[in-house]
Symmetry: C2
Subunit: 553 residues, 2 copies
């Protein structure tokens, strides 16, 4: 049985799910021994520890040695990687791409699906690698870095497969000529890849954000060079290694996918982005570098997820406690280091109507602050939710932000059992007037949130959606018992290209984006020029070449 | 009955045709009174003449007066157009786009289809307008400028409709939680346009090249500013006028589509391309300006068709006379001013095997030259095929090209009955050695072709496909009785992103590209970054905004 046949039923389900977009998931998010094997957790941790302090062998062309990853939980990983120069990488990638680009759709898609299946088996290893590069809590590192990322890989493969299959392989073209014989051509079409696809990873969600691009490009026949963030190499190194193993088994040159690791003090990204042989660039990261990539890439085919400023508009609620708890969790999860985390919470100066009666602006503020305190009251649970802070700069940013408004809830370092040197910060909550746009109108990445005193809900929607248009936003959230407010928010945020959540008071959070259902990033505001994943994310990664042949007389 | 209902059956057929890609056409290419009405031809000519020497009223915001079109057949059109400044155009387009972007898919697609249907009724008027701006012969102006362009408009609408309809309108998302109640969200999705779409027209095929972009952008909810080439305004002015009439009837602001005419000495294109409110740019034209557009557009969403150098590789044939006649027609049609016209004909130095025995390199050259002479022997037929030369620079280019090789067949001016001052040139055919890449390796737009003496067919395929990779190509053609040669050519040209025609000796020509079947331009070499039309041509013209709502308990 070929890889394609093995995974065919799953692929068909994935394609169907991408079109109906109800809940569907291929890879279980529950880190249970019953699903992943009784020893999987221990095995994953052991496998992770076995990688530390050693060269990580990918079997790629060599050159320099790089690798300076330090866990946000405090210890250096001391993993090193061989790093070839750009010319060597490009040549090897081009060479490997020849056969890969000429393979059948089914052969390529089968290989991709087998890679994802094997990655799934290594979910506990990846959880450790993601935890100790990004700082995510273990459970989040398992879910977002493992099965959720794998779902997103599958989603990209499903879109790519579906899009390639829309192109017929051949047709008989017969044009009537009145009473004369028709003009007849035999036509056939082949999918041709663009060339080399460069995937630039980020430090916070290296697999979740990287997999859609990696697998969309592989499935459509491109060879892929993965450029990990220097702070989060290991999760993508493990991924690339698994992929290379499968490629080799399937008879392809493993250089179809290669890792291009670097150190922060000697980055190679710009040399890759501007190389004329790089035909596709996928980028996740800061707006400043994202803009540079868009403006300087040698290719026109560039997909970005950059930064934005996400907002919550509170108008009224029938579940005030649920509102406070839900927002508290959204602000705390991974210490606000998600591209989907809210920063700005707009609340009318006159307060809001709730099921507990009228709540003043200050009562809303203290309600959320109290909910955060309760949520993080148990240190073990707090550590799980908050995780650690990926970058030292975020700690400084939190510190500086204290001066931007009135502190309702201060940020503090939080203990993490077993990791005394973990870099941590709980949410900082500030109140501020809407006029002070200099404060709330900039992205303050990390556990920093503003409760913004606003004239009216209409003003709040206008400010939040206006900010999204100018500075970008990936998510928005509105709380209201008034349908006309919800309609107005839906319209305004849609036009601003922001995904809107309405009245989240239960176990779904605005930060969460589900593969196969939510369109993550719209591509319609400065937070990114692409969506992960829709048709546009895959359709331009390949092209169609026609051969038409006059029918022999 | 709504416009959508009126045209629904046609739309369904068009969607089906775009997937099966056999022969299909919605708009009859035969300029017959039986189809278009007995008086249609005379009416169209009269309507055209009635437009000459007058202001063309589009009912748009005014400003300056522009318009300096001169027919390649010799007379100035003396049509003038009101030209608003860029800020006025942008404001009006944004304002009109609000309601258009919020309309239903069906309402927008219905309007588009009605516009195309009304354009079809004006095919004879458009034929005259296209003829006297581009220089195309009347029959070509009718077919390519009329029904074929309309087919391409319909194709773009069909792709846009199909792509938008792949996004579900809503879904119930229910995530199991073990023994607890599931998490449930009601989700809905809306299509949001990108903003203002700028379509930059060309001087040779203003409607055929412009319609796919205009209609793809309109259908997906963008407002459109059409920037015609200053030498070919009238065909697009007529188009925009018809579109504005339909929009108004349907209750929309007609500024959903606007014309931005200019004169060659005061171009506005750069001001539009670099305006931050222009969200999509479609460009047809030269490589030099195309590159500028790609590098300087404020938006990332840029679709181009630029220039290329198209090749024919002759290896062997079972129909030498058919080969010569077919190539003669391809070189003569519209005096080589098609983006699909061949320039370089590679022939082995040792000659080729044919059904008439071995033919030497010189015999192949003279066979094609003689076929051109015969084809153009009747002046009336010659005028119909050659048409006139759109740009004076092309005449100079032909003149200069004489020095580049040995003249097998010289170019000459050709009489056109009724148009004594027509600017004309028959094909110039030169022989040259493959080593002289400085001559054949550049685009020589117009009726200039090289017969290139090549070592072997393998060399010829390598040179032609290599040239396509470097300089771009839209079409290629190969003649061979050897299947392995055909396979090698198919592979090489596919990888170079060129559509290949094989053994054309009858009534199909390499220059011709059929809507709903041929993918015109691959987007995979420098001749253009996009294909007209495939999924990628439409999928990024709109985005998807999610609204997800916690199900009330």
């Amino acid at each position: 049985m070929t890889f394609f046949e093995t995974h065919r039923a799953l692929l068909d389900q994935a394609v169907a799910a991408s079109r109906t977009r109800g809940y569907w998931s291929a890879f279980p998010e529950i880190a249970s021994g019953k699903i992943y094997g009784e020893t999987a957790k221990a095995d994953g941790e052991a496998a992770f520890k076995a990688l530390l302090g050693k060269p990580f062998d990918l079997g790629q062309p060599g050159g320099k040695t790089v690798g300076q990853e330090v866990s946000p939980y405090g210890m250096p990983l001391d993993v090193t990687y061989a790093a070839a120069d750009v010319a060597t990488l490009i040549k090897a990638s081009n060479d490997a791409g020849e056969k890969w680009g000429g393979a059948s759709i089914e052969d390529r898609v089968g290989v991709c699906l087998e890679i994802v299946a094997r990655i799934n088996k290594q979910s506990f290893l990846l959880a450790n690698a993601v935890m100790h590069t990004t700082g995510q809590g273990f459970m989040m590192a398992f879910q977002a870095g493992g099965p959720h990322a794998q779902d997103r890989a599958l989603e990209a493969v499903a879109y790519a497969y579906d899009e390639m299959k829309r192109v017929p392989q051949n047709a008989n073209w017969s044009k009537p000529q009145g009473k004369a014989d028709p003009l007849v051509l035999d036509k056939n079409w082949r999918i041709v890849p663009r060339g080399i696809s460069l995937v630039i990873g980020c430090a916070t969600f290296p697999t979740w954000n990287g997999y859609p691009a990696i697998f969309a490009s592989l499935a459509t026949g491109n060879s892929v060079i993965v450029k990990p963030h220097p702070g989060a190499i290991l999760p993508l190194a493990i991924t690339v290694k698994i992929a290379r193993d499968v490629l080799k088994e399937a008879g392809f040159d493993p250089n179809v996918i290669m890792l291009a690791p670097d150190n922060a003090d000697a980055p190679v990204t710009k040399d890759l982005v501007t190389h004329p042989d790089i035909a596709i660039v996928d980028f996740t990261g800061s707006s400043a570098f994202g803009r540079w990539v868009r403006e300087n890439a040698a290719t026109d085919v560039v997909f970005t997820e950059e930064a934005g400023i996400n907002s919550i508009v509170i108008d009224s609620t029938s579940d005030f406690r649920g509102l406070c708890n839900n927002i508290a969790f959204s602000l705390s999860l991974y210490s606000g280091q998600m591209c989907t985390a809210p920063q700005n919470i707009f609340v009318p100066a006159a307060g809001i109507d709730t099921n507990d009666g009228k709540k003043s602006f200050d009562e809303v503020a203290s309600g959320i602050a109290t909910a955060i305190d309760k949520l993080l009251g148990d240190p073990e649970r707090a550590a799980t939710i908050l995780g650690a802070v990926q970058n030292e700069a975020t700690i400084k940013r939190v510190s500086d932000a204290r001066a931007l408004g009135n502190i309702v809830r201060d940020s503090s370092a939080m203990p993490v059992a077993g990791f005394e040197r973990a870099r941590t910060a709980s949410p900082l909550l500030l109140t501020i007037d809407a006029k002070n746009e200099a404060a709330w109108g900039e992205e303050r990445f990390g556990p920093i949130a503003f409760l913004i005193k606003t004239g009216s809900t209409a003003d709040a929607i206008a400010l939040a959606s206006g900010s999204a248009r100018k500075k970008g936003a990936i998510t928005a959230s509105v709380y209201s018992t008034n349908e006309s407010v919800i309609d107005a928010a839906a319209k305004a945020f849609a036009r601003a290209g922001v995904a809107l959540s309405v009245n989240l008071t239960g176990g779904v959070y605005v930060n969460q984006s589900a593969a196969f259902s939510d369109y993550h990033v719209t591509g319609a505001n400065p937070a990114g020029n692409a969506c992960l994943t829709d048709s546009a994310f895959v359709a331009n990664r390949f092209r169609v070449a026609t051969v038409r042949r006059q029918k022999a007389a």
